[in-house]
Symmetry: C2
DNA sequence: CGTTGGGTTGATCCAACTCAAACGACGTGG
DNA sequence: CCACGTCGTTTGAGTTGGATCAACCCAACG
């Protein structure tokens, strides 16, 4: 498969990039395809590459020593991931990247990215925007985990995921995620997620299916996320 | 009070900065002093300034709608804070900055910082290092909150705080924080913190006093943080 | 059509939060 | 220097949200 360099303008960090830079990136990088459930890299690997996702979906997960894991982020097409490793020459990935479905991504050598950053202000700004977004999101999620009860956290998680990777189809937003994924993204368990989603489905807020959630009434979720308790 | 520009080299982000830049920063910025418990800024304020802490200690806190708050970071002398606001021209502070003791900080206009970033690669790199550090720490803390029990989280929190703001005195490390601060930093309550610290004090791991914790046996804390449960 | 893996549901349990009360270190003013 | 009020800390008792465990259901797929 070939990548059209011009497509890279859809990457947030590269919106301002001149075509010659995009050509350079495509030319100097390789396209890596991984099958479903396989990994682009593991937590602790040397951060040799940054990636731009070309097809499929990828999740970034972090595990504790006991193997329990949390979902830190889900990556969609034309998103850059693992860019942090490009900053420090000797860094290791603080997370693992696992394909949610058959995927392919452009693997850019961290050293190339570092070189380019020396002379391209747009790259610095783009990466900083990306990073500040991450920081703010993680701070919010941390606070939510520390202060909010699960139902509210679940609503917040689903709304956040919807804005990040939701797929619009006939006016409705669909999340192609299993309840396991939701549990790991919200800091809960599949049991509690299942019970809560069933309850919401009864109330007509959402519709659930194997590996997907359809939002029927986003406003109702917002109310749960920030409003008063349900009776 | 006067700031000696050369002192700014102690700021991580400005380690590589030439003296003329430091002079410029001091000259164009103002020194703000705030008394204990007062705020440099509140969550949601327009991010007009970035700060470098000159004296005292400051904590960054985030509150939820109900007013419960979490401690995201404690700032010590010569640390830069609120630098994220400098990235986007129209940003607001996502956290509040409250003085833990009488403090003073150099208030640098965000716009000045942005201008300087255009032509000073060291600044970009410094800020990116800072940001990647934040991201990784927040990701870790998020995972800890999601997967670890309080005792372990408390140990991790105290070890982390010790490395960030611990004060070495006669071979021991002291944390000048109240149990309220520890609770807000670890995502727990003062009651659980008090009980746990009392238990640790009985075991000789630490020593507690009003508003301070002395680490007697850091290795023991590390064991709790990553080891098996205590009998 | 059998197997697999996501989802559901009920029963149980416990870690940690909540609430209430008292304690004790510290600073202040008389 | 003592009395007092404040505020951080401690401790006990009671409660509970949500995790855990076990069993089952059912849709998808080879």
């Amino acid at each position: 498969m070939k990548i059209n360099p011009a497509d890279l303008n859809q990457v947030n960090v590269l919106k301002e990039a001149p075509l010659e830079d995009l050509n350079l990136l495509v030319e100097k990088s390789i396209l890596r395809s991984v099958e479903e459930d396989s990994f682009y890299f593991f937590q602790g690997d040397p951060a040799k590459y940054a990636y731009i996702l070309v097809t499929g979906r990828v999740k970034l997960v972090q595990s504790n020593p006991a193997g329990q894991q949390v979902n830190l982020r889900t990556i969609k097409q034309w998103e850059m991931f693992a860019a942090l490793g490009a900053i420090r020459p000797d860094a290791t990935y603080p997370v693992a990247a696992q394909a949610l479905e058959p995927s392919s991504a452009l693997a850019i050598e961290s050293s190339l990215l570092r070189e380019m950053m020396q002379t391209r202000p747009y790259l610095n700004f783009g990466l900083m925007q990306l990073m500040t977004g991450y920081i703010q999101e993680m701070q919010e999620r941390y606070r939510e985990l520390a202060t909010e009860k699960v139902e509210r956290r679940l609503a917040l998680t689903i709304l956040r995921l919807a804005s990040q990777i939701g797929i619009k189809s006939q006016g409705q937003i669909e999340l192609p995620l299993s309840q396991q994924d939701i549990a790991e993204a919200s800091g809960s368990t599949i049991y509690t997620v299942s019970r809560t989603l069933s309850e919401w489905e009864k109330r007509g807020l959402i519709e659930t299916g194997r590996g997907r959630i359809v939002m029927r009434n986003p406003h109702g979720l917002v109310e749960i996320a920030e409003g008063a308790e349900s009776a």
